[in-house]
Symmetry: C2
Subunit: 350 residues, 2 copies
DNA sequence: ATTCGCCTCTGTAACGTTACAGTTTTAGTG
DNA sequence: CACTAAAACTGTAACGTTACAGAGGCGAAT
């Protein structure tokens, strides 16, 4: 074997007599030259292909490591069509503080251990299909992550039609199967009510998400089930609308606080709204935790720092990001999308 | 000219007799076939090269648009080395809510009108150089945006050494020239003090950023200048440390609130800390706006919704993102980096 | 001895683009 | 009329990778 190796080396030298400029980025050719093997062999060896001898593979791997070889993404992509890119499609008009960065962190955390890069693709509400079409037409990603999923989401059908793996943050209601990650808002609402009941609250209101989104339904279901189970009085909040600007919510809070006939507990679906609501309630002279209790979801723990009187249940967007990334990768690798659906149980402590 | 066109078409047909599968993605070859021109000519025409006739260019452009031609990024990248990628290097441990997403939005807003994509490259505090080295070694981006800039930032020297255009969020103190965008913290602190002075506050404290960061110095300078100009009493906050966890800041706030000898105004450098501080002060029974005034920076306007008593001065991270993106692109296009340094004046209204 | 199949390695071509070095055509010059 | 120059176009090669179709060598079966 030693003899064979030497012979190959000489052959290599004869065949590729160019100087290898050592400051250039190494390619397969560099390794081929160094080992005296063919470029193809090196390529197969680094992929651990079955037709390459174990000894050769080891030698190639060693040299590759020595010279710091990194495959050229453009080369791979041009030849195979594989981009090694996951695209996160983001709406740039939403200002849901913290949500996005946490999700991005979760995604990068998973991708860091793979050859995948994360590309951020923005869209405006005026044309949500634009980035999806762009990615499909230019084949610029192997997989896509979608946020702000709608119950009937045209992006989902489009991606399914074009066989591009994806995962959605939030479920859909279209009778099709695809990977998703969703926070269990039914469980959240149920537990929120339970928390209030444990504090002796009996007249409880729900300030839910915008009703056209699917998770508004989940939230309402959990809320109503809990109210029935615990035999509490639903306090209807007609005016309340989480889509409304914070000023309006604050105003609502003040009105509620001033009315003689008011709830003694409110379940809120977003930390931002909870803050605005509490602002209004306090302006009306109420003391949170004494006169009324508020439960809200929170993604970062800042409410706990600031106002421990507000009851919180955690929603972890980093985990969501990790989950979504793992699901897309799994789908790309051929997993059954039906197995890539995750409902995240809310963490009731804190 | 009509005759010429027909002849070319025939030539084209003779030379490339393959069927053009119309569902395939169009390439230069497709357009060459359709126009009867050579691939090279089409390439030059679409780049508006000088050696192509105006009439031909127009025809090529038209057909290109008709078939929906989009240059293949991998092809360009492989041939030219141009990636059309800007990399945003992010620390995934920081939880500075809202900051990151707003910056990302600003960047994508600028890149949307260019062929550039935004890639998020994460790093952990244990090895801040890793992503920078990766990008340089694999030549995987044409430009880089750095956040959390340190006064002596090794990433800056490394990127300068390797001729990779970049821009930093925050200035450095290394005696080298590079593009940056920085919030004018000196001006912020000055205006914050002025705001307090206008409300009759006289014993003013500063709760500044972690002292090892450069903008701590800027903040302190603005604060001290304002205090001198307005002949106010500096109230030293020995215990205060914005690096501390929010719980500690909250505790500090309570202590300050309970002490007989306390400031009547505090300038705070981060909205998060301001909230924790206010939480503590209120716990001690103080009423913001009556017993004490707080000024803080805010990036989203949520404090205004929640607690209008807290005085705020806006810091706009979306603009920062836009600025940083524009600067990197300009540097890539050969602009003088010395002209790409922007100090963002704080917006005192709101 | 021949054939067969297996194992391990090989070169060629192609992905889409552009730099480069021509080539043809037309118009202008002496 | 030859000659040159400019204008407008051309093909070839290369970027780094991998699919594909071999090609040697060698042991086993015939």
């Amino acid at each position: 074997m030693g003899g064979k190796r030497v012979w190959r080396m000489e052959l290599g030298l004869r065949m590729k007599p160019e100087l290898d400029a050592s400051d250039e980025r190494p390619t397969l050719k560099t390794i081929a030259y160094l080992t005296g093997l063919g470029v193809t062999t090196v390529s197969r060896a680094l992929k651990n292909g079955p037709e390459i001898g174990e000894e050769t593979k080891e030698r190639v791997r060693q040299i590759a490591k020595q010279v710091g070889y990194r495959p050229n993404r453009a080369g791979v992509r041009l030849r195979t069509g594989k981009t090694n890119v996951i695209s996160l499609i983001l709406n740039t008009e939403e200002g849901s503080m913290g949500l996005v960065s946490e999700m991005v962190y979760g995604i990068t955390e998973v991708l860091a251990e793979t050859p995948y890069h994360l590309v951020i693709t923005p869209y405006s509400l005026s044309d949500p299909m634009e980035p999806v079409r762009y990615i499909v037409e230019t084949r610029s990603a192997d997989g896509v992550i979608i946020s702000r999923t709608e119950p009937k989401d045209p992006r989902v059908s489009y991606l399914l039609d074009h066989n591009l793996p994806f995962a959605t943050h939030g479920r859909t209601d279209m009778g099709v199967i695809h990977p998703w990650h969703d926070y269990d808002n039914e469980s959240y609402a149920y537990n929120a009510v339970k928390l209030l009941a444990e504090r002796g609250r009996r007249r409880i209101a729900l300030s839910g998400p915008p009703p056209h989104l699917l998770y508004a339904r989940h939230t309402a279901r959990g809320f109503e089930r809990a109210m029935r189970d615990m035999k509490l009085d639903v306090f209807p909040l007609s005016a309340m609308n989480l889509d409304a600007p914070a000023e309006a919510i604050r105003r609502d809070g003040r009105e509620i606080g001033l009315s003689a006939d008011r709830p003694d507990g409110i379940v809120v679906s977003s930390a931002m709204s909870a803050l605005a609501l509490v602002g209004g309630l306090e302006e009306a002279g109420l003391k949170i935790g004494r006169d009324i209790d508020i439960v809200t979801k929170q993604s970062t723990s800042f409410i706990g720092w600031y106002k421990p009187e507000i009851l919180t249940i955690r929603e972890d967007f980093r985990t969501a990001g990790r989950d979504l990334a793992k699901s897309v990768l799994a789908w790309i690798d051929g997993a059954d999308p039906a197995t890539l659906q995750h409902l995240a149980a809310p963490d009731v402590r804190d």
